[in-house]
Subunit: 357 residues, 2 copies
DNA sequence: GTGAAAGCGCTAACAA
DNA sequence: TTGTTAGCGCTTTCAC
């Protein structure tokens, strides 16, 4: 009683078919590309649909087909007051692009870790999504088993290090990036390098640490545990950690920092200690969101990897949609660019992505 | 043919009602809190539903009720390679919290400006959402008229400055914040203050500029147009702008910068010019996402407004859901905290929010 | 090549 | 207080 003639609000299949003097069946078939429709009627139908600005009611379609035409992104938050990592925004922007292209929608949820299991169970029981992207994987992550049990298709943004499960993932090459960055500092003559890292129960931070250690060991340097800190990516973490390290006996001459937010704190501590970045001390920031290697400290400018997170989102979404349509296809591990990897444990994968390798 | 006995996958109303020996109607009514159901059966039903882990199929429910139970967030992107403003992530996290509380889902889309109109029309025609949050309003914004025409409920995150339309909005108090920050720099003795701002066709940047000018004028200072720059919030903008300003005859002794990303560039330019922040030059960064007033430059620490963006998201979502349920209710303009305002042009509003004022 | 009719899982008149 | 029935707008057998 509220739509109707006010304006040509939301025409539906019934109206459209009546206008055309055809059955709903035929119109539906014409629009969905079924072969048995004659070319002439198909043309007529398509034209009328376009002119009438017809869009199938997504809810009705979902009910009839059983497909939600929606992908869920569940972002874990440690606490309700936690600042959201900008990496998610960038990744989700990329994924969204792919979904639009294939007629899917993107559903977003933020869940505290303790609610995560019930969140997954709930959205699948409600028929809200056809698949999900798993964010912030941990070195060992129970979500893999959970999602397999539920039977919900998924792709991991990142990797789970300690597992025998087979699964699809896409990731930045964190280990290699941190190895490179560390090597750069070593080449500049630094021997006391501090790593200010994210929580190492999360894979990304763990892999970064491994890369850091790789470089030290390859250069015959020993690592100093008091120069490696790991915590949530906050300004406070950066400030407190750097302050403590700078006051210690083995004060570092260089910092390698995970995320610009942390770096804000580190910088603050450095200037408070009366030191000047680029003169007394070097800092490299690695942040996928900006994808920004800070070259303060006379460090040569890195190739910008800007937007690689977005690209990862695009690819993850493609991988997931493909998996939903053709569950038997799995990608092999492959290097997409020096900083982007995707893969899974089994099977062949007909990827057009190979051009990117 | 694919669910059934494998595991107790997704029980539906029919099964549940058969198990209970009741009609679907009664079960539905019991679960939806209709008063005519006897307390004893309601208890029985609720127990069985819980044990059977029953969740109504959202798509079927939507089709039957005509409510999508979903709110859309459409994030405008200038170009596909643009970095997403972290403010969105924080705001959306807040809104999401409210939606979960009321059984709504959050649908996310990124749209280039040229596609925005068709995006809105499309999601409403598909019955994908019950309402939307409008992000990044411009000083003059055609979306207001569009959404009214379509009849889609909405709340604006920010304000449209040049309009006579009535609409609901929630916003940071950008003008006041920038006035305060500028005053602080003036109090420190600065007379040549540079404003490195976002695009002033966007309301937030325009209002910040007004606040900046407010402070200058109140202190009898004249503004220098060559010390006010306005562009996309990128590192490049900050770097180029600051470089140029520092090289000019009227080089600033202080910078007021919109967003930390821009500030990365500004900092770079400053250190390249051989100047030291906190000694030769002062910098204040205002960024709602971190909500961080940088105190480099010996500027006293501001009260942290961290998470106010998230809070804005929570409130915007509450306002929208209320509007969807009771369209006749509109909030009056009100100050929630010194930095958070919400409002609309008409009517009474029974807000429990008053405690926050 | 096209149409009639049943059904997806739920809600909501209308009866009883 | 409970049940019967008719949709919501689409897809999909099955006949023609």
């Amino acid at each position: 009683m509220r739509n109707a003639e006010v304006s040509c609000q939301a025409m539906n299949l019934k109206q459209l078919s009546e206008n055309l003097g055809l059955s709903q069946t035929t119109v539906s078939r014409a629009l969905n590309g079924y072969p048995e429709v004659s070319e002439s009627t198909r043309k007529r139908v398509e034209l009328a649909a376009q002119q009438g600005n017809y869009r199938p009611n997504m809810r009705a379609m979902s009910l009839a087909t059983g497909k939600a035409m929606t992908i869920g992104h569940i972002i874990p938050v440690a606490t309700q007051s936690d600042v959201v990592n900008p990496v998610f925004a960038e990744f989700v922007a990329g994924a969204s692009q792919t979904y639009s292209q294939f007629g899917y929608e993107l559903m977003l949820r933020f869940a505290e870790s303790k609610d995560e299991e019930s969140t997954y169970r709930s959205i699948v029981a409600k028929h809200a999504v056809d698949g999900v992207i798993v964010h912030s994987p941990m070195r060992e992550d129970s979500r893999l088993a959970l999602l397999k049990e539920i039977g919900l298709p998924f792709v991991v943004h990142g990797r789970v290090c300690d597992t025998n499960e087979e699964y699809n993932w896409i990731d930045m090459n964190n280990r290699s990036a941190f190895k490179q960055a560390t090597q750069l500092l070593i080449d500049l003559g630094h021997k006391n390098i501090a790593l200010v890292n994210g929580q190492e129960s999360l894979s990304f931070a763990w892999l970064r640490r491994l890369g850091f250690l790789d470089a030290l060991h390859e250069n015959g340097l020993t690592h100093n545990p008091s120069l490696m800190a790991s915590d949530e990516l906050t300004e406070t973490h950066g400030y407190q950690t750097a302050t403590k390290m700078l006051a210690s006996d083995h004060a570092p001459s260089a910092f390698l920092v995970s995320s610009y937010v942390v770096a804000l704190g580190v910088r603050h501590a450095i200037s408070q200690a009366g030191l000047a970045i680029g003169k007394d001390i070097s800092v490299i920031i690695h942040d996928d969101a900006l994808s920004y290697f800070d070259n303060s400290g006379a460090v040569p400018q890195f190739t910008s990897t800007r937007s690689s997170v977005r690209e990862a989102g695009i690819l993850a979404a493609e991988m997931l949609l493909k998996q939903i349509d053709e569950p038997e296809l799995y990608p092999q591990t492959k290097l997409l660019k020096s900083h982007l990897i995707m893969g899974s444990s089994t099977g062949p994968y007909r990827a057009q992505l190979s051009t990117l390798v």
